[in-house]
């Protein structure tokens, strides 16, 4: 008998007549923010919550994005950046004196001689938690790309911001690897103090079309 | 109302003054108190230490004594015994494979005063600085909430002090105090430290078991801080006392 069969048989023996009992799950918890949240409030909540983690966040109009990106990279003295395939070319139109490396198997953003920064889009964002979600879709690249310890500039379109975790989860296609990022790392020893590790690594640009 | 007093075995032997205080208080409020003489123990200590068969026998005895009728409610000055009857007896009988016998409602004293009788001012006076310790069974098992505090706030001349981290356990835990005496003492040491920080003269609660634990540590330190059951404060002094 294989271990698989043994474990499954133990489970069946353990449950006895209770096995297969249907248990209804009450789903009357809140899936959405309250009705008092207008669209602008959702975006404001996202900004407030992500800033509460110490993550720099700025709002720009679609036309102003290339300049804002260039300014963010310039402020951190990034001379060489890595970007995923599919990043809209226009985003990088204003870069001057910055070498752009397309991501590929040879690129290791975590290496000491890796790029100074990476720029990506995202799959969704969550207002109630101040979270960005990457899933390897267009303009996001593989997971290893966003492990750059120096700077990750993430561009969030305002319409990508969901109110709640449930709303964001429903927007994401299953099967893809997801990374949900919410603030800097926390040390979880007995003292569990917040650690500055990674605090400076993420910057968020929120693109609002009407700006 | 005709009220049956379940005094709780440890009060009967070690803290009879609390039982007398409940009688005095309820009679002053115009109610008739009866004491079913066949009562002994609700089985809480046996049950919570793992002696299920012994607990079942005691729980049966309790049900026999208090299901007899002839009164409108059962009142006890012990939150932990009230919780044992209301929460644990069903579990005790289930573990013994029996149906729980029907019982009249068993109220902890402050619940009875506030919820059933609807009084918070019982006409008491107590000119001391008093800290209230919310015991685990009162707070978490019964959900007594602020009922004891509402009663205390209505006591004339009483100065109420708030204990820091008040809802933390004092470390008594029944046989825990013996089986894990070192951890138990570590807990009561912190509780005593918090109590003394309030500069209270008296610590009160609705469980004499926890008070005996806290009071035992306060007495060992010769702190001069007294422990009193809430009923003793509400009832006022005895005649000739």
């Amino acid at each position: 008998m294989t271990s698989r069969d043994r474990v499954l048989r133990r489970i069946r023996d353990a449950l006895g007549p209770a096995r297969g009992t249907p248990v209804p799950v009450p789903r009357d918890y809140r899936r959405h923010l309250g009705a008092e949240y207008a669209r602008a409030d959702v975006i404001a909540l996202f900004t407030e919550r992500i800033a509460a983690h110490g993550t720099p966040v700025r709002h720009v109009g679609a036309g102003g994005l290339p300049t804002a990106l260039a300014a963010a990279l310039w402020a951190r003295e990034a001379a060489r950046i890595a970007v995923p395939a599919g990043l809209p070319a226009g985003w990088l139109a204003e870069l001057e004196g910055v070498a752009v490396v397309p991501d590929g198997p040879g690129v290791d953003p975590a290496a000491p001689d890796g790029p100074d920064a990476v720029v990506t889009g995202c799959a969704a964002a969550v207002a109630e938690t101040g979270t960005i979600v990457l899933d390897g879709g267009r303009g996001q690249g593989r997971r290893a790309l966003t492990l750059c310890p120096r700077l990750h500039v993430c561009v969030v379109h305002a319409d990508q911001i969901a109110g709640t975790v449930a709303e964001a989860a429903a927007r994401l296609p299953p099967g893809r690897p997801q990374t949900w990022l919410t603030g800097p790392a926390v040390a979880r020893g007995p003292a569990r103090e917040r650690s500055p590790h990674g605090a400076a690594a993420l910057e968020v640009l929120v693109v609002e079309d009407w700006l | 109302m005709r009220v049956a007093l379940f005094v709780a075995c440890y009060n009967d032997a070690l803290f009879p003054a609390t039982g007398r205080a409940v009688v005095r208080l309820l009679e002053r409020l115009g109610h008739q108190v009866v004491f079913p003489a066949a009562q002994t123990c609700c089985g809480q200590m046996h049950w919570s230490t793992g002696y299920r068969a012994e607990a079942a026998a005691l729980a049966s005895g309790f049900a026999e004594v208090f299901s007899g009728g002839g009164f409108d409610a059962v009142v006890t000055p012990s939150a932990s015994c009230a919780a044992a009857v209301r929460r644990d007896h069903a579990r005790i009988f289930r573990a013994a494979g029996r149906d729980a016998p029907p019982l009249p409602p068993v109220h902890e004293l402050t619940e009875f005063l506030v919820d059933v009788l609807g009084v918070t001012d019982v006409g008491a006076s107590f000119p001391h600085r008093v800290a209230y310790h919310p015991t685990c069974h009162a707070t978490r098992a019964l959900g007594a909430g602020d009922r004891p505090l509402r009663l205390l706030r209505a006591v004339r001349s009483l100065e109420l002090a708030e204990i820091p981290a008040a809802d933390e356990c004092c470390g008594f835990g029944g046989t825990f105090a013996l089986k894990n005496a070192d951890v138990s003492v570590a807990l009561v040491a912190d509780k005593v430290r918090h109590i003394r920080a309030t500069a209270a003269d008296v610590v009160c609660a609705v469980d004499n078991s926890c008070l005996a634990h806290i009071g035992g540590a306060l007495s060992r330190l010769r702190s001069g801080v007294r422990v009193l059951h809430l009923a003793d404060i509400l009832a006022g002094p005895e005649d000739g006392a």
Partner: protein
């Protein structure tokens, strides 16, 4: 090979050095206070907290009562997504499986309770693998294999969900060529929709709106991360816990550690005296449920609690830990009833129950006890009790019982009227 950690000393004995460790006591006290405050804030801003707890409890009960079907469904989904599922009955088998899959290669291994439980590090080292324990501040090793735990597995999709505080596991999931993930069989949930519950209740219960990183992966993703994914499903006594109708509630645990942060006992002793991670209230039920109460050390764990109930109040899946503790105390006592010589405690408890089983016997004992106790007292206090009761008077006085019990007073009063 070294075995997985297990308690060796009785809790009371193991607790003594921890209680005397001043620095540990301070860290625990400060840490618990900080997390309790953060947790309270995270819960206070969640208006549907009660509904989330009820849903969490129900979805885990639904999982447990259908665990065989759930795991088979998970296995199909993981396999369809390019992963391989392995099963292990015991801890040693699980550890051997991990070591075999690593094949002697150096591995990166972020801390996870299940990895400690099965003794993964020792097994890997014994099989020739260098183990790099990663952490927030550790340099990430240049290795091609990673070994991780997981928090939730979704049977419907085969998705693995890992909630992270330090951020090092994220790298383990993205960089190496091979990923070996170990999970307890109870960590599965049936549906995608269950995630929207646990992704809210678990982090908030631990004091954050969401943990700094949450990684979700399903089998292998071409061109992104490991090309090989192995999932090792571990029983190691979980089915023993599942067979216990009251104890099985403890398998709902999602690992938020909120019960540790509010436990007054854990706050004084830390994890050490519990003998195996994670300790605290959940450890005090899980270890005896999964291993039985045969050894004095595991049998002491259900008694390592004052039953104060703080743990039950905070649990995001409504595990009534005190109820399970009391149930396990009953199991310990019942296991000892069969001994040829009764334990002293059994003798005392039986005598007490026999005495209190009858009002006449009770009153006679009351009179005798009061006389004895008053002989031991001075100035109204008893400062030293004999035998095992001396544990009380080591640090605490006991009030001397008054000469007249309540029932005697009552009778005297009735007689006087």
């Amino acid at each position: 090979m070294t075995a997985a950690p297990r308690p060796r000393l009785r809790f009371a004995d193991a607790a003594r050095p921890a209680l005397a460790d001043t620095a540990l006591r301070r860290d625990l006290r400060d840490g618990a206070a900080a997390v309790r405050a953060r947790r309270a804030a995270a819960v206070a801003e969640t208006p549907d907290w009660a509904e989330l707890r009820a849903a969490g409890r129900a979805l885990k009960d639904r999982t447990l009562l259908n665990l065989d079907a759930c795991l088979e469904r998970l296995e199909r989904a993981v396999t369809a997504a390019g992963g391989t599922v392995h099963w292990a009955v015991g801890a040693a088998e699980a550890a051997r499986t991990v070591a075999r899959l690593a094949g002697g290669a150096a591995v990166a291994m972020p801390a996870a309770p299940v990895l400690e439980e099965i003794g993964a590090a020792d097994a890997l080292a014994a099989a020739g693998s260098t183990v790099h324990r990663t952490g927030a501040d550790a340099e990430f090793p240049a290795v091609r294999t990673a070994v991780t735990g997981v928090d939730v597995m979704v049977a419907e999709t085969g998705a693995m969900v890992l909630l992270e505080w330090a951020g090092d596991a994220r790298r383990c999931l993205a960089v190496p060529d091979a990923l070996i993930t170990v999970a307890g069989i109870e960590q599965v949930v049936p549906d995608r929709a269950d995630l929207e519950v646990l992704l809210r209740s678990l982090p908030r219960s631990a004091g954050e709106r969401l943990t700094p990183a949450v990684s979700v992966w399903t089998g292998v993703a071409p061109g992104d991360g490991p090309a090989a994914f192995h999932l090792v499903l571990v029983d190691n006594g979980r089915t023993r816990a599942l067979a216990d109708e009251i104890g099985r509630a403890a398998l709902r645990c999602v690992g938020c550690a909120a019960c540790l942060d509010v436990c007054p006992v854990y706050e004084r002793t830390g994890p050490g005296p519990y003998g195996a991670p994670p300790g605290g209230p959940i450890g005090a039920v899980r270890v005896p449920l999964q291993r039985g109460v045969g050894s004095a050390a595991t049998a002491s764990l259900p008694f390592a609690s004052t039953l104060c109930g703080a743990c039950a109040d905070v649990c995001p899946v409504e595990i009534d830990i005190p109820e399970v503790l009391v149930h396990l105390r009953g199991e310990v006592v019942d296991a000892r009833r069969g001994r040829p010589v009764p334990t002293p405690e059994l003798a005392v408890m039986r005598a007490a129950a026999w005495t209190m089983g009858d009002p006449q016997r009770y009153e006679a004992a009351l009179r005798g006890g009061v006389r004895w106790a008053r002989l031991l007292s001075r100035g109204g206090r008893i400062r030293r009790l004999p035998g095992r009761f001396g544990a009380w008077t080591d640090a605490r006085d006991l009030p001397a019982p008054p000469a007249r019990s309540f029932r005697v007073w009552w009778r005297d009063r009735a007689g006087a009227r």
